[in-house]
C-alpha cells in the first residue's frame, strides 16, 4: 500500500507542517503540486468552521475486515470470503460489498487505526460517544451535548438530535453516555425517527390524549389575553424564554415549523436514492436537519433495523451470520445511504461546513469464530470522515497484517471527540471551561 497518509506521528501534537510537506513531496501525483500543498496548509483555518455535524453511529460494532480494512493476504481463518476492489484513493481497497462508497472515496478520508477501551456495547458506546468510561467518575457528556452547549439552545429547533433510538436489541439498558452527562439533561438529544417508508415520528411532538393543534392554539390565545401589560416582568433572559416558548408552540401547532422533519417534501427519486430503509430515510432526515443548521445530528443504526427475522436484529453485532448479513443487508444499506448522503451534501454545497462522520463503537475479531462469524474487537476499527474541512481522499493510520491492532498511532474516541469539538469551534480553552474532553487532542492528520 502506498504510504501517504500513514503518518507515524511522534507525539500527541500530530504531524508537523514539515512532515506534511515531506510526505507530499514523496507522492507528488497523489497530492498535486507544491502550491496545492501550500494551499492545503493555508486552509488550516478550520477550527469553528463546522456548522452541523452528522454522526452515522453504526451500533453493534461493524466488522472492519469485511468492509473498509480488508486483509486479502491474511491467512484464510482471518480474511473472510469477500474480494477486494480498488477505491478512488490510490492504494486503498475496500471489500466488494461497498462499490458505491469506493467510487466516492475522493470525498472522504478513512481512519483505520481506531481503538477503544471497552469490549461491551454499553461501555464502548459510552466511550465512543463521550471519550470516557462509564465508571471513571461523573458521566461525561456526549460529543453532541458539548457542541449543543457551545452553540446555545434557544433556536427554533433543538441543537442535538438523535435520529432513531439506536439501542441494539441486546442492550439491556440505556447507555450512560447517551446525552448531557455533566452538562445536564438540558443537553440530552431530541429524539426523532423515520421508518423505512420515510414516515417520521417525533415522540415529544406527538400530542397527548385530548390535545389537538386547535386546542393548543386556543390556550395560547387565552394566555396572550391574560398576559396584561401591567403584569409583565422585567427579567434577564425573559425574551429568550418567550422565543423558546414560541418555538415549542410552532412545532406543536404549526405544520410549517415541522418542515425540517417532513420527508414528503423530497422527491421520490431523492428518497429512493437513500434506500427504503430506516437507516436510509434517517440519513435523509439528517440531511434536512443539517440544512436547517441543527448543530449536531446523530443517526443511529436503529433498533429493529432491517430485521433479519422479526424482532431479532442486533445492529452490526453479527456474532452469527456475519458474512450473510453483511453481504445481503448491512453493507448494501450503508453503501447506498452513505453515498446518497455525501452526494447530496456535496451537491447542495453543505459539505464545506458539515462534518459527516461514520463509525461504530468497535470492530470485530479478524479471526473468524467457531460460529463462522466474528466477535467484539476493541483493539482496531475504522472511522470515515468527510466535509467540514477534512482533507478528503486519504487513508490515515494502518492496522497490522491481520487487522488486529494498529501499527500507527492509535486513534481513541477521545481524539475523535476532541477533533469534532475543535472543528465546531470548541477550542482547548472552551473545553477546559466546560470541563469536558480533558486531555484530548485533535487528530491533526485529518486537517
Amino acid at each position: 500500500m502506498l504510504g501517504f497518509g500513514n503518518f507515524n506521528a511522534q507525539d500527541c501534537s500530530g504531524p508537523t507542517r514539515r512532515s506534511f510537506i515531506k510526505t507530499a513531496a514523496a507522492v507528488p501525483f497523489t497530492i498535486g503540486s507544491t502550491s496545492q500543498v501550500l494551499e492545503a496548509a493555508q486552509a488550516a483555518q478550520k477550527s469553528g468552521r463546522v456548522k452541523s455535524v452528522i454522526l452515522l453511529w453504526l451500533w453493534g460494532g461493524p466488522s472492519h475486515v469485511d468492509t473498509f480494512d480488508p486483509k486479502p493476504d491474511a491467512p484464510m481463518e482471518y480474511r473472510g470470503p469477500f474480494g477486494t476492489i480498488p477505491t478512488r484513493t490510490p492504494g486503498m481497497h475496500f471489500t466488494e460489498l461497498l462499490p458505491k462508497m469506493a467510487a466516492r472515496s475522493n470525498k472522504y478520508t478513512v481512519i483505520r487505526s481506531n481503538v477503544t477501551t471497552n469490549g461491551g456495547h454499553p461501555g464502548a458506546g459510552t466511550v465512543g460517544l463521550t471519550g470516557f468510561e462509564e465508571n471513571a467518575g461523573p458521566i461525561q457528556p456526549n460529543f453532541g451535548s458539548i457542541v449543543a452547549k457551545h452553540r446555545g439552545s434557544a433556536e427554533a429547533l433543538p441543537p442535538f438530535f438523535y435520529v432513531g433510538r439506536g439501542i441494539p436489541r441486546d442492550l439491556p439498558r440505556r447507555i450512560e453516555g447517551y446525552g448531557g452527562g455533566t452538562l445536564g439533561k438540558a443537553y440530552d438529544p431530541f429524539l426523532v425517527s423515520a421508518n423505512e417508508r420515510g414516515q417520521v415520528s417525533i415522540p415529544q411532538l406527538d400530542l397527548l390524549d385530548g390535545m389537538s393543534p386547535k386546542r393548543i392554539q386556543n390556550r395560547k390565545k387565552m394566555l396572550e389575553q391574560l398576559d396584561l401589560a401591567e403584569r409583565r416582568l422585567d427579567a434577564a433572559g425573559i425574551e429568550q424564554w418567550h422565543r423558546t416558548h414560541q418555538s415549542a408552540y410552532g412545532l406543536l401547532a404549526d405544520p410549517a415549523a415541522r418542515k425540517a422533519f417532513d420527508l414528503t417534501q423530497e422527491s421520490d427519486k431523492t428518497r429512493g436514492k437513500y434506500g427504503q430503509t430506516t437507516f436510509g430515510q434517517g440519513c435523509l432526515l439528517a440531511r434536512r436537519l443539517a440544512e436547517a443548521r441543527v448543530p449536531y445530528i446523530q443517526v443511529n443504526w436503529s433498533e429493529y433495523v432491517e430485521t433479519f427475522s422479526p424482532n431479532c436484529d442486533f445492529g452490526w453485532d453479527t456474532h452469527i451470520f456475519n458474512f450473510e448479513l453483511l453481504q445481503d443487508r448491512h453493507c448494501p444499506i450503508l453503501d447506498r445511504a452513505y453515498s446518497a448522503l455525501i452526494d447530496d451534501l456535496d451537491e447542495r454545497g453543505l459539505l464545506d461546513d458539515t462534518l459527516l462522520l461514520a463509525m461504530g463503537e468497535f470492530g470485530r475479531t479478524p479471526k473468524i469464530s467457531n460460529r463462522a462469524a466474528r466477535e467484539h474487537h476493541q483493539h482496531c476499527y475504522f472511522s470515515i470522515w468527510a466535509g467540514g474541512g477534512i482533507e478528503p481522499g486519504r487513508c490515515i493510520g494502518e492496522s497490522d497484517a491481520k487487522g488486529e491492532r494498529p501499527i500507527t498511532r492509535p486513534i481513541t474516541p477521545l481524539h475523535v471527540g476532541t477533533t469534532i469539538a475543535e472543528l465546531c469551534g470548541v477550542g482547548a480553552k472552551e473545553r477546559a471551561e466546560m470541563k469536558v474532553l480533558d486531555g484530548g487532542s485533535v487528530i491533526h492528520e485529518l486537517i
Binding site: 483555518q45 439552545s153 455533566t182 424564554w241 416558548h245 477546559a432 471551561e433
Partner: protein, 840 residues
C-alpha cells in the same frame, strides 16, 4: 472564504455567551486592541488646578528600557483626570531622550535631564537619568522575548499555549516553562522557526505577520516594538538568560479605586516590575492588559483604558507569571437624575445605595405585598403560600408584618428542608456517590445542622475533619464523593474558598495567581485520607494515614502543606487537615466568610455580589466590595450565624425592591437596583404545579409527603432503565445530578425541551386531566366561576384576579362546550404566564 482572526474571535465570543464560566475573561484574553480600534474621543483638559507627573524621577539604564509617564490633572470640584495623552512633553536635553505623544520616554545617550509635561499654562516636571546607553544590551529571553510572545497572544490558552499547541507548535501557557519554550523555539524541528542569517524571515516572525499563512491571524507588524524585540533576539543569536535574576512582582499605577467622570473617559496605566537583585524596570510595553468587563471599559495594548459606559471593571495586568488587577470606574451625570431612596433598613441598603448613587442608578420602589409574599415563600421554603397563608398576610394591617413573616418562615420546617437541599447539591449528596443509606444519612446530618443553625465554621470543620464510618459520622460521606487527593482538595477550595484552582494542577492558573506549587501545597493536606469499605452495604470508613507525601509533578520533590499567607509550620504529625481547617475557619481568613455570605446572597438575590458566586479571584471583582466585606464581617463576628445573614438580607429594602425597573435603572444588571426576576428552579416549579393543581408529585424512596424541594438526593429511584426520549420533568428543568461541587451544575438555561414539556408534557398533562385535580373538585363543590378563579389565582400568584382577568377567564369558560376542559385550559394558561414561571 477565509475567516479572519477578528471575525473568528467575535464568533467565539458570541458562541460562548451561553457558557456561564469565564465568558468575559475569554473575550478579554483574545483581544489585543490597537488604539485606533477603540473609540477614543478628543480628551478635554478643562480647567485643572494643578498637574501631577508620575514618576517624579526615574533612571533608564540600558538602551532597551522605556518609561511610561503618567500625567494627572486635579480640578476645583475635587475630581481628577488622566491627561497623559493630552499633555505636551518637552525634554530639556533633547540629546538625552525623547518622549512620544503616548508619554513614553525612550533613552538616547547618557546624561541627566528633566521632562516637562504641560497642559495650557500648567506644568509638571520629572527628573530623568539616562545611563549605560553605550553598552549594548542583548534582548532578555526571559524578560522580553517571552513576555512579547505572551503579549502578542502566541502563548495564550486558545493558541500555542493550548496543552498540545496549535499547528504542531506548542508554547507553555503564558510562558510558565521558559526552558521548554527555548527548546521549542530554537531547537525543535531542526531550528526552522528562527533564521539566524535573515532574522526578519524567521518563521516565528513571518507567520504572525501573515506573510506565511497563520491560523491565528496577524499578531505582529514590522513597525511594532514587539516585532523589533523578537527580531533583535534572533539576530543576537537566540541567547537565553534562563538564570537571570527572577522577577519578584509587578506594581500598577494608578492603584485601585480610581474613578473618572465622563467625558473623562481614558486612563493610562503604568506597570513596573521588581527583580530579585533589587532593580526595577518599567514593563508597560511588555505587559498584557485585559478588562474584566468589556461593556464598561476596554484596554489598548499600550495600557490605555477607555471607558465605554458608566460602571466599574478590573484592569488586569499580566507580566510573566505575575497577575495584578486594579479597579477603575467611570461615572456619568445622567440628565434628570435625582437621588431618592427609602431610608436604609440596615447596612445592606447603605452599601447598595452608596454604589447606586455613585453610578446614578435609582433603586426601584418597594414591591407589592403579594409580590413580597410569593417571593419570600419561594426563597425561604421553596414552596408557594397557600390561600390561607396569603390571605392572612395580605389582610394583616400591621406595619411589621413582613418582618414577622420572615421570622415565621425561618423557623419553619420547610426552611430547613429547602436549605438542606441547597447544601445537598454542593456536597454531592447522591445515591450514586454514597449509596442510598449514605445519602440519606448525610442528608439528615445536613438537616440537623440547619435546624440547630450550627455555626458555619463548625459545620465546615466537622465535614473537612470527618473520620470514621459514614453510618456513624455521616459527614465522612464528603470524602466518599471524591475519588482522590486532587478531588478532595479541589472540592474543598471551591466550596469553602470560592476558588477554582483546578487549572493549576497542570500549569500556573491562567487567570489567577494560583501556581502549580500552591496546588500541590494545598493537596498535601488531603493526601493522607484513606477509605475502606466494610462488610455492610454502603458503609465506608474514612481515616488519616500516618504518612504519605505529595510530589510535585515537575520537580518530583516532596511538597510541604501550604496555605495562602501561612508562615507557621503546617505539617502536623497527627492529622494535617486540622491545620488547614484551623486556618480556613479563622476570623480573618480572606475567603471563608465571604464565600458563604456571597452564596446566601446569590440564593436570595439571583445573582452573586461576586458572580459566578464560587469564582473568587482578583480578576473577577465583586459588584460591591464594601457590601461583601460588611456582610462577611457581620457573619464572622456573630458566630458564623447563617440564619442571621439570611434574615438581614431578607429585611433589607434591597431584597424587597420591585422587580420592575424604572427609567433610571433599566440597564443596571450589576448593582442590585431592582430585584432580578428569575425562573423557578426545577423543584420549585414541580411543587408549584403540584400545589396549584392539588396533585403533588410522589417520589420513590421517601415519605409520601416529601416535596421536590425537599428530596434528599436526585437518584433515589432504582436504576433507570428508561429509554432515550422519556422525559424526566425535574431533569429537563435543570435539577443537578450532583456530580460536581459546582452550583453551575444546576442548569438555569432555557431549552426547547422545557417549553415542550409545558405544552405537551406528561407530568403537567396528568395533573391537569386527573379526576381529582383541583379545578374539578372545585367545580364539583358547585362553586361559582368567581370563587374558583379566586382560589386558583391565590394559589398561582398569591393574589386575587383583577376584574379584567376575571372577565377574560369567565368569557372563555362560558363560550366553551365543556366546563372542566375549559378550566384545564385556564389552569394551563395560568401556569404558562411569566408571573407563574418566574420568581419576581
Amino acid at each position: 472564504m477565509k475567516i479572519t482572526w477578528y471575525q473568528s474571535t467575535i464568533f467565539n465570543a458570541l458562541g460562548l455567551s451561553a457558557c456561564l464560566l469565564f465568558a468575559k475573561t475569554l473575550n478579554a484574553e483574545n483581544v489585543l486592541y490597537e488604539e485606533a480600534e477603540l473609540s477614543i474621543s478628543p480628551i478635554e483638559a478643562g480647567k485643572p488646578l494643578r498637574l501631577e507627573i508620575h514618576p517624579k524621577e526615574f533612571t533608564l539604564s540600558g538602551n532597551r528600557q522605556q518609561l511610561q509617564i503618567l500625567v494627572t490633572a486635579f480640578y476645583a470640584d475635587g475630581e481628577s483626570a488622566d491627561l497623559t495623552r493630552a499633555a505636551l512633553y518637552k525634554v530639556a536635553n533633547t540629546d538625552c531622550a525623547s518622549v512620544n505623544d503616548r508619554g513614553v520616554v525612550v533613552p538616547k545617550i547618557d546624561g541627566s535631564t528633566t521632562v516637562r509635561a504641560s497642559v495650557g499654562k500648567l506644568h509638571a516636571e520629572m527628573v530623568l537619568d539616562v545611563k549605560n546607553q553605550d553598552k549594548p544590551e542583548p534582548v532578555s529571553f526571559k524578560f522580553q522575548t517571552l513576555p512579547v510572545l505572551s503579549k502578542a497572544g502566541c502563548s495564550m490558552g486558545a493558541c500555542h499555549g493550548a496543552p498540545h499547541g496549535k499547528g504542531g507548535f506548542r508554547l507553555s501557557l503564558r510562558a510558565f516553562d521558559p526552558v521548554l519554550d527555548l527548546k521549542t523555539l530554537v531547537h525543535e524541528e531542526f531550528g526552522r522557526r528562527v533564521n539566524l542569517l535573515e532574522p526578519e524571515r524567521s518563521l516565528l516572525l513571518a507567520k504572525p505577520r501573515m506573510e506565511v499563512a497563520h491560523e491565528g491571524g496577524r499578531r505582529l507588524r514590522k513597525g511594532d516594538l514587539e516585532h523589533q524585540l523578537l527580531k533583535d533576539w534572533i539576530r543576537e543569536g537566540c541567547v537565553a538568560d534562563i538564570d537571570a535574576s527572577a522577577c519578584t512582582g509587578i506594581r500598577i499605577t494608578p492603584g485601585t479605586g480610581q474613578f473618572r467622570r465622563l467625558p473623562h473617559h481614558v486612563q493610562q496605566f503604568r506597570v513596573e516590575a521588581s527583580f530579585a537583585d533589587g532593580s526595577t524596570r518599567d514593563v508597560t510595553h511588555l505587559a498584557v492588559f485585559e478588562s474584566s468587563d468589556e461593556t464598561v471599559l476596554k484596554v489598548s495594548r499600550h495600557g490605555l483604558a477607555v471607558g465605554v459606559r458608566r460602571g466599574e471593571a478590573a484592569v488586569i495586568v499580566r507580566y510573566l507569571e505575575h497577575i495584578q488587577s486594579t479597579l477603575l470606574s467611570f461615572v456619568q451625570d445622567v440628565s434628570g437624575f435625582e437621588w431618592k431612596a427609602p431610608n436604609p433598613v440596615n447596612f445592606v441598603d447603605s452599601h447598595v445605595y452608596k454604589k447606586l448613587r455613585k453610578f446614578q442608578y435609582l433603586p426601584s420602589e418597594p414591591c407589592r405585598d403579594e409580590e413580597f409574599l410569593r417571593r419570600v415563600y419561594l426563597d425561604v421554603t421553596g414552596l408557594l403560600p397557600t390561600p390561607e397563608q396569603s390571605l392572612r398576610f395580605l389582610e394583616d394591617k400591621q406595619s411589621d408584618k413582613r418582618q414577622r413573616l420572615i421570622d415565621e418562615l425561618l423557623d419553619s420546617q420547610n426552611y430547613t428542608a429547602f436549605w438542606s437541599q441547597k447544601w445537598g447539591d454542593l456536597l454531592k449528596v447522591s445515591a450514586k456517590q454514597m449509596g442510598i443509606s449514605g445519602a440519606l444519612k448525610f442528608h439528615n446530618w445536613i438537616q440537623q445542622s440547619i435546624v440547630e443553625n450550627r455555626p458555619y465554621d463548625e459545620f465546615a470543620r466537622s465535614i473537612l475533619n470527618a473520620n470514621g464510618s459514614n453510618f456513624i459520622n455521616p459527614a465522612t460521606n464528603f470524602y466518599r464523593s471524591g475519588s482522590d487527593t486532587s478531588d478532595h482538595m479541589e472540592s474543598t477550595t471551591q466550596l469553602f474558598m470560592g476558588t477554582r484552582i483546578g487549572c493549576a494542577k497542570c500549569h500556573n492558573h491562567p487567570y489567577e495567581r494560583w501556581t502549580q506549587d500552591n496546588y500541590y501545597g494545598l493537596s498535601a493536606f488531603f493526601n493522607r485520607i484513606n477509605t475502606k469499605k466494610t462488610g455492610r452495604k454502603d458503609e465506608v470508613v474514612v481515616w488519616m494515614d500516618r504518612e504519605g507525601e505529595v510530589h510535585h509533578p515537575v520537580s518530583k520533590k516532596v511538597v510541604e502543606p501550604w496555605v495562602p499567607g501561612g508562615e507557621d509550620s503546617l505539617n502536623q504529625k497527627k492529622d494535617r487537615r486540622k491545620a488547614f481547617t484551623q486556618w480556613l475557619t479563622s476570623q480573618n481568613n480572606p475567603f471563608f466568610a465571604k464565600v458563604e455570605v456571597n452564596r446566601i446572597w446569590t440564593h436570595l438575590m439571583g445573582r452573586g455580589i461576586v458572580e459566578p458566586f464560587d469564582d473568587f479571584r482578583d480578576t473577577n471583582p465583586p459588584a460591591n466590595k464594601s457590601l461583601l466585606e460588611a456582610l462577611a464581617e457581620d457573619f464572622a463576628v456573630n458566630g458564623f450565624d447563617r440564619r442571621r445573614t439570611i434574615r438581614t438580607i431578607l429585611l433589607s429594602n434591597t431584597y424587597q425592591a420591585s422587580s420592575r425597573a424604572n427609567e433610571f435603572n433599566r440597564d443596571d444588571k450589576r448593582f442590585f437596583s431592582h430585584y432580578p426576576a428569575r425562573r423557578l428552579t426545577a423543584e420549585q416549579l414541580l411543587d408549584a404545579l403540584g400545589d396549584l393543581t392539588g396533585m403533588p408529585e410522589k417520589f420513590q424512596g421517601v415519605r409520601a409527603s416529601t416535596r421536590a424541594t425537599q428530596l434528599p438526593a436526585p437518584d433515589l429511584k432504582p436504576h433507570d432503565r428508561g429509554k432515550i426520549g422519556e422525559i424526566e420533568f425535574l431533569k429537563v428543568f435543570g435539577m443537578p445530578e450532583r456530580q460536581t461541587v459546582c452550583e453551575c451544575e444546576r442548569g438555569d438555561e432555557t431549552s426547547l425541551g422545557q417549553a415542550l414539556e409545558l405544552y405537551n408534557g406528561k407530568t403537567l398533562h396528568r395533573m391537569l386531566t386527573h379526576s381529582e385535580t383541583r379545578h374539578r373538585k372545585l367545580i364539583r363543590q358547585k362553586l361559582s366561576d368567581d370563587e374558583i378563579l379566586r382560589e386558583l389565582y391565590l394559589r398561582a400568584y398569591a393574589r386575587t384576579p383583577d376584574p379584567r382577568e376575571s372577565e377574560i377567564a369567565k368569557q372563555y369558560i362560558k363560550s366553551a362546550e365543556n366546563r372542566e376542559k375549559a378550566y384545564e385550559d385556564l389552569v394551563w394558561a395560568l401556569v404558562n404566564k411569566d408571573e407563574f414561571l418566574f420568581q419576581h
